[in-house]
Every structure is written in C-alpha cells, then in structure tokens.
Symmetry: C2
Subunit: 331 residues, 2 copies
C-alpha cells in the first residue's frame, strides 16, 4: 500500500521523523524521566513504542485513555493528570491490578477518588495557569485530608501550561522557574516521590520536576515547531486537490473535521492557506487537480482526535509501513 | 437513564427544540424543497426523522456519508455536494441501486465520475465563495462535456457559503440574490431539474433554488443563533465542573476535543468563557464542583464530528429518551 492509495483526508506519520523524535527524547529524558502524555497521539501503538524505549509510565487526560492503555498491557503506572468526579471506571482498573494515580485539588475530588476505589493520588497544584489545581499553600492540608481518607499521596503535579508555548526561550525559562518554585513549595508540604510537570516546550528546561509529561514531541505541530526544539514535524494530513480556479486558488479535501482549529489554520509548505470549510482547504497559489499535498496541523491533539487511524509512511518512497488505530478517542 | 448518569463530556439533544426545528423547517420548505445536509449532524437517526417528515433526498459532503445513508435505507436520492476524484465507492453504491448524484466542476472531475461508475452529476458553479465550482459562463460547456461522456446532468449547484452567515438580514438577502443570479445564468446554459443551493442562513430568502441544502437548522449553534432564525438551540455539550478556584474561575471537563473551535469559544449561559484546553473549559463566575452545565457549541458541524453518540433528552425532567450513534463520521 502506498500514499497514493489512501482515501483522503488521511493522517500520515513520517516514519523517519517519528523515529528521530522517539530517540531524541529518550536520550534527553531517559526511562522514567519522561512520562509521555498520550492525549497528544491517542494511540496505543505509539505508547507501546514509547514503552519499548524505556518510558513505562504514561500520562492520561481521560478515563478512556487509562482504560485503553490498560487493555493494551501498558497499565503499569498511569497518571490521570486531571480531576475526575465519577471514578468508578478507574476503580475497576485498580481492582484489576493496573496502577492508576489520580489528580485531586479539592475535598470533593478527594471524596470522589475514595468513593470509586482509587487508591493513589497526587495533589494537583496551580502554578500559574488559570485551570485546575489548588493554591500551593493549600497543598499540604489537602494531602493530609487525602491520607486521612486512606489514599496514598504520591506527590504533586503542577502543569505550567501557560509557559510551554512561549516562543521566547529566555521568557519560557524564567517563567518555568517561577512556576516550579510554586510546585516545590507545595512539594515541601506534601512530600512523596513525584513532582510531575512539564510539556514539550519545557522538557529541556524544567529541571525541577522529577518527570516530564511531554506528549506533542513525538508527532509535533506547527505551534511547537516555532520553538526551535530538536523534534521534527512527523505528522501531516494528506489531502487531494479537488478543484482549481483560474482566478488563483485551489481547494484540497481536508477541512474543519480533519484539523483542530484553536491554534488557527493548518500550514501547507509553499502555499498561503486562505480558510478551511468543513471538508475543504482553500489555498494559493493553485496546484493541479489530483495533486496530493501534506498539510501540517497547527495543533496536534485536537487534530488526531478527529481521525480513526494514522498511516506510518516512508515519505521518500511513498510506501505505507504500518497503520495504527487512533484507539484512545472519546471519553 | 438520566442526564446525571452520563459520562461527561456528552452531546445532548433537547428533544423539544429538536421537534420544533424539524416541524418548523418542514412547514417552511416541505418535502423535496429541502434536501437536508447531513454533514451538520452526521447521524442516520436524524436523517430518518427528516425523511419521515417528507425530506427524502439528502445532501452529503463525503463518500462515507453517502455510504452510511445508503446502508440505513436512505439512499433514494443522495447529492454529494462536493468534488471527488476517486469515485469507485460511489460507483458501488450506484450499482447496488442507490441514487447518487455527484458534483463536477472541471474536465478532471467529469473523467473521475465516469471512471468510477457514477451516472448522474450536477455542474458545481462558483457563485462567490472562493472554493469549488466552475465560473458560471463555463457551466454549459462542462455540461456538454459530461453529457458527451454518457453522464446524466441533473442541473446545477451553487452554494452561497459566503452569504449564509451574514448577520445583517438585508445584506444577506441582497448578496443571496446576486449569487443566485449567477447560478441562474449557469442553469440557463445547463438545464435540468435541479438548481440546488442554500443553507440554514438563507433557507427563507433563497427563493431561486429548486431545493435548499440546510443542515444546521435541526440542531443549531451559537453562530447561526445570532441570525434571528425561527430555530431553537437544540444541542449542547454536557460537562461537569471539576475544579473551582477562590481566585474566581471554574473548570468544566469539556474542551478542544469536544468542540469545533473555528468559530471561537463555545458559550455557557450566564458565564464568561475564558479559554478551552484539550479537556477543559475555564470560565467565570465560579460554580460548585460537581455541578453539570450545558455548553453551546459555536459551530455545530466540527463539534458533532468529535462525538460517538448524542443523547436525546427531556431537559425539563432530565430523562434521556433515546441515544443516537453519530454514525457518519470519518471518510
């Protein structure tokens, strides 16, 4: 099977760039120093490759991601880096022998963890992003509450999500340090072996966290591509030019249902993208009808979530080497 | 089963608003005057309801949508309102007795239709949106080419996609008339029983088209909600508040993988939405952890495409009446 045989739009992985990203990160953050975030790729085949190079623990954003990894034999140490109020499905995983650690940031989420049969938690700490996490100064009391309810508190989480995408490296480094100082304050009060944080944008500069939750590095997108990281663009949406206008534009058959759009339009090398419709990408200058193009997503995670599978290809020969189900979608 | 039992995020349909929209449109554009566009809901259960009130032909954006409707017994008159270069799967549908009419806008797409076994086409005409469609003055020659290759040319399509969302009604009406004058010019040259066009924003003012391709009207979104149409908001993403900060915000568990984001943030009544993350919606003022909220998508079509199913509920009682698979996703 070759790229030319694929129904478009189709998610295509550049095998060479994928291997580069896998080995580059494994060298920089070997073994348990990286806890890959599966929300970026939603694919147990990729998680298995990450485990094979030494990253045996995973970060998840949803219960479904935990269930899918466990079913794939990758449930040895799963961190659900989010608050969950109905934890019964997580309790089922724990009872079946998988290790699931859940974030808590309030008495209500502690109660929820206990109620569903979760046994291990980390205290989620707000380190500057206005999202989940308790204030650093409240982390100790929350850990005591969790312990008093019989939960094992493994440490703290503090995601510097407002920092990971900053394009200025010095700014990113300075703000990462500020965030991690808050997390260290919480960790001093909570204790435990985990101080989990970080992302692709801070994987090399966040030296305070005990483990980094990077996800995007393995496939990349145009947003992180601007940060001068050592990872290569490894995923594209393959599309077919279906219409061309003499007035100066062409249309490819990949649109709003093939790309996460919160970071703006996807990119097509050598072209200016005008806009996306549900199943269309209008761009200039025009290309011939029938030509196939590789379009770079602006934001990986919500792009992958639209696709049922990804095809791993040798882009130089056009040969498809493997096809991986995107099997961690939904909730 | 009740709304409180659902795993969140979950797509929820307000049964009462749905019935209102269904009957309001069926009264305004009865029978074949409406060719509902299934790309908006991607759900054969909804298409069956639309057929039951008299709309027996459907508009599709993808081959998969055609296949799904045909498999559901709704393949009596399908218009694939898009250009397709690999038409073999459509040829299979035609050979099996389903009626599939395909858009063509170039000699290459005419050749593609013939090659795959498609027998009926409409000439797709550009009426102002820089996307697919031939110039109006070239439609006649393209129809002759198609006929010379043995295709049955049923008429013309001209989607005024640059007009349907205009918030000023007078502006929308004037620009719709301009677009339809171009389509009439093409139709005079092409002939045939179909002059297919329109959308939810122009369903009442596009009196030139023989049929209207509206899709969003049945479920609606906040973008079309600004147009003072007689349709009610009928779909929401149900989410759970999982975290609340004393600093003044809350977080619900629905984010970039639950909402199409090209039209901006979704809306939460009585609240200000700050931003979405992959699985989070940060908003103010804060609400209690555990509260469930109904969030209105900004753009229906790419929102539905993220979800596996939708739950039809009586919102006043909280009872779930039916659950419909979103079974027309993918390509």
């Amino acid at each position: 099977m070759r790229l030319d045989d694929l129904v478009t739009p189709a998610l295509v992985v550049d095998a060479s760039a994928f291997e580069h990203n896998l080995t580059t990160m494994a060298a920089a953050l070997p073994g348990e120093r990286l806890r890959p975030h599966v929300k970026a790729h939603k694919c147990t085949a990729i998680a298995a490759r990450q485990a094979a190079v030494g990253h045996s623990g995973f970060t998840c954003a949803t219960v479904r991601e935990c269930e899918g990894l466990a079913a794939a034999g990758l449930g040895g140490d799963l961190l659900l880096a989010n608050e969950v109020l109905d934890t019964r499905r997580l309790g089922v995983l724990v009872a079946a022998g998988h290790r699931v650690t859940l974030c808590v940031d309030s008495p209500a989420t502690v109660e929820a963890a206990v109620a569903g049969g979760v046994r291990e938690v980390v205290i989620d700490v707000n380190v500057g992003l206005p999202r989940c996490g308790c204030p650093p100064q409240e982390a100790g009391a929350l850990a005591e509450l969790a312990a008093s309810k019989g939960l094992d508190v493994r440490g703290v989480q503090g995601y510097e999500g407002h920092v990971v995408g900053l394009e200025d490296a010095a700014d990113r480094t300075a703000k990462c340090a500020e965030s991690m100082e808050l997390l260290r304050e919480a960790h001093r009060a909570v204790g435990g072996e985990l101080m989990t944080a970080g992302g692709t944008g801070t994987y090399a500069i966040n030296t305070w966290a005990t483990e980094i939750q990077a996800g995007t590095y393995i496939l990349m997108d145009s947003a992180y591509g601007r940060l001068e990281l050592p990872f290569r663009q490894a995923v594209y949406v393959l599309a077919t030019v279906i219409s061309t206008s003499a007035a100066g534009w062409s249309v490819a058959d990949a649109g709003l249902k093939a790309f996460g759009m919160d970071h703006g339009n996807p990119a097509l090398e050598g072209s200016s993208v005008w806009f996306c419709s549900d199943e269309h990408l209008t761009f200039s200058p025009p290309r011939p009808v029938g030509e196939r193009v590789l379009v770079t997503p602006a934001h990986l995670d919500p792009t992958v979530a639209y696709h049922e599978r990804m095809h791993v290809a040798d882009l130089s020969s056009g040969e498809i080497l493997e096809t991986w189900p995107v099997d961690l979608r939904g909730w």
